[in-house]
Amino acid sequence: MESSTPAHKSEDYLVQQAIKRDRAAFTALYESCVDRVYRHVYYKVSSHADAEDITQEAFVKAWKSIDKYKSTGAPFVTWVITIAGNLVIDHYRKEKKVVITDEVYEVDPNNQIPDPAQEAEINYSKAIIKEAVLKLKGDKQKVIMMHFIDGLTYEEIAGALNKNEGAIRVIQYRALNELKRFLKRD
């Protein structure tokens, strides 16, 4: 299989092969991107079950529309993350209701039992900041998510959003100021 040879493992090559409907190439892309897409979605939906469903659907859609993919200089994962981001919006539109879960997550026995007060303090802070990030609109949320949550560089974000790096820095500056306003108001 061509796409499995080390010389051909570069992302561009895999994408080109996937566009030609090479399933193995797309599977390789899936393997390299799935963790980051999942992390992005989970940040937004805070539910493992929903994050799994949306992540899976994002890759299915990506495969279906891979022929529409145009390289912008940003990593392939940003394209899948954009698809996943739209699915998150659809998810909230469709749901319009709150789901109570009785899911039980295993606690790593190697970790120390946390101090309940400290635990509450940390969770509270994380919840507040996440809520503020999700209040950001449009490119502001995209830039903050891509830079801080997805770990993309300014150059990669610029490619993904079809803007120059200077514009990304301006959006980041404005977004952080808006977060500051949200947090102060809360």
Binding site: R23, Y43, A49, A51, V99, N123, F148, Y173, N177, L183
Partner: protein
């Protein structure tokens, strides 16, 4: 350079460990406050440390190419889920509850692990990032102060842990602790919630006391390279304790912007007792010794009464932290403090107070010496009765004796509103006014409500031990 470029550069420098928020903020003084607040938020923005399960990844891989991929489960709830109508207020609480459960389960483990990390560990930035986030989202000065002081004490605890693990204690940790102590005190000074401030000061007073004891023990075990930093943090923890005690009794003190790095605080503490001869505005004459710009939280005592004061002089202001007033009896005036030099008018500077010392043949005092003076004649001059130029100060606790437990061998001392329990079974017990008599622990029950000074503190298995208790029978 444009603001957004400066911000972007700083974010990258901090993320790569080349700089800190404080360094960046200070480098651009015209943007200092804005930059600090934005960087605090930026540092706090971190992904949840979560990964999809291997089972999910395998399952999703199997279905990548299904033309009829199953619809997402979000649209059809599994039996494990049940829905709650969107319109009820309970939705809000439910959302919060879900968020908390999930954060605790997923992102939490990394953050918990980070809580035990030390400077130099990979997860240490997560720990400080969470702290900065807490500070960034806190608007109340009283709560912010509480957080800053709590974090400063964490830095001190981290230094002790580093010593235990044979790691070097670096100067950066010291600088961070200093900044956090001072930022906490600054936030307290702008708080108008006196009760909350006093609670914070009370906690600070007790925690810094035990930290001093622990740090002194750590210093003895520390490698030589770490000793200067540890000695400095001991001094600063002691000053923090002093500030907490003085500010607890006299909130005015915080407006003077005390800093844990201010070495003058060490020399500014004094005790003075004598007859209050006059009060003019904020200037008091006690047995011929004048104290100026007196700040007292409470009623000024009557002229003619006998007063016993404890306090601190800073920038020509005299902050009284403790006052006892009794009926005037002709007893000598006593002053205790640290000699810091001779004033231009020939008087001695004892902890910032001008004191006339009678000339005798004793060797001259040297700056830094701790001295006790007492009036022996009627010329308003005081004789030196005791002097001690030892630089080292052992940790002591002074307060009101509130309980004695002879079975456990403990006494309880009330300090700045908090109760401190000390094990004293092996301690010598003295009475300041009757040094010839030997006291037993049970004798202390007769002195409940009196002031005591507990010296030679050490800490083992989370318990404080002392080797000397001095009872002050007062007047």
């Amino acid at each position: 350079m444009k603001k957004e470029q400066i911000l972007a550069n700083c974010i990258e420098e901090i993320r790569s460990g080349k700089s800190t928020i404080e360094d960046c903020a200070r480098r651009f003084p015209q943007l200092e406050n804005e930059l600090r607040s934005l960087l605090e938020i930026a540092v706090s923005l971190q992904p949840d440390e979560t990964k999809p399960s291997a089972q999910f990844k395998e399952r999703a891989r199997m279905h990548l190419f299904d033309e009829d991929a199953p619809a997402p489960a979000t649209a059809k709830l599994s039996p494990r889920f049940w829905a709650w109508p969107v319109t009820t207020p309970a939705r809000v609480f439910a959302s919060i509850g879900i968020a908390f459960v999930i954060f605790a389960a997923a992102g939490g483990s990394t953050v918990y692990a980070a809580q035990n990390s030390l400077p130099g560990d990979t997860l240490y930035t997560v720990k400080t990032g969470v702290e900065n986030l807490q500070l960034a989202v806190t608007a109340s000065p009283a709560v912010k102060a509480d957080l800053y002081l709590k974090f400063a004490q964490r830095r001190v605890d981290e230094m002790q842990q580093q010593v235990k693990l044979n790691r070097d204690v670096n100067a950066q940790a010291l600088v961070t602790a200093q900044q956090q102590f001072d930022n906490g005190l600054k936030a307290l000074s702008s708080s108008d919630n006196t009760q909350a401030s006093n609670n914070t000061l009370s906690k600070l007073s007790v925690s810094t006391l035990t930290e001093q004891v622990e740090l002194e023990q750590a210093l003895a075990a520390a490698p030589q390279a770490s000793q200067p930093v540890l000695q400095q943090i001991i001094d600063e923890t002691r000053r923090s304790n002093t500030i907490a005690q003085v500010a607890y009794a006299n909130n005015d003190f915080l407006k003077n912007r005390p800093s844990v790095t201010d070495k003058k605080l060490d020399a500014g503490q004094f005790n003075i007792e004598g007859t209050l001869l006059s009060v003019q505005g904020h200037t008091w004459n006690i047995g011929g010794t004048v104290i100026e710009n007196v700040h007292l939280n409470g009623k000024t005592p009557d002229v003619g009464s006998r007063v016993e004061l404890q306090g601190l002089v800073k920038d020509n202001n005299t902050y009284i932290s403790k006052i006892q007033v009794s009926a005037g009896t002709p007893e000598p005036t006593k002053v205790e403090g640290r000699f810091s030099g001779t004033n231009q008018n020939g008087t001695a500077n004892i902890s910032g107070i001008e004191v006339k010392i009678s000339s005798n043949n004793a060797p001259p005092l040297t700056p830094g010496e701790k001295v006790q003076l007492q009036s022996g004649t009627n010329d308003g001059k005081l004789d030196v009765t005791s002097r001690n130029n030892a630089a080292a100060q052992s940790t002591t606790v002074s307060g009101t004796l509130t309980a004695v437990d002879t079975e456990k061998g403990t006494i309880t001392v009330k300090v700045t509103g908090s109760q401190v329990v000390v094990f004293v079974l092996k301690a010598r017990i003295e009475n300041a006014s009757d040094s010839h008599r030997t006291y037993q622990l049970s004798d202390l029950k007769h002195y409940l409500g009196h002031d005591v000074r507990v010296e030679g503190l050490s800490k083992h298995s989370d318990k404080l031990y002392a080797n000397l208790v001095k009872i002050d029978t007062g007047h």
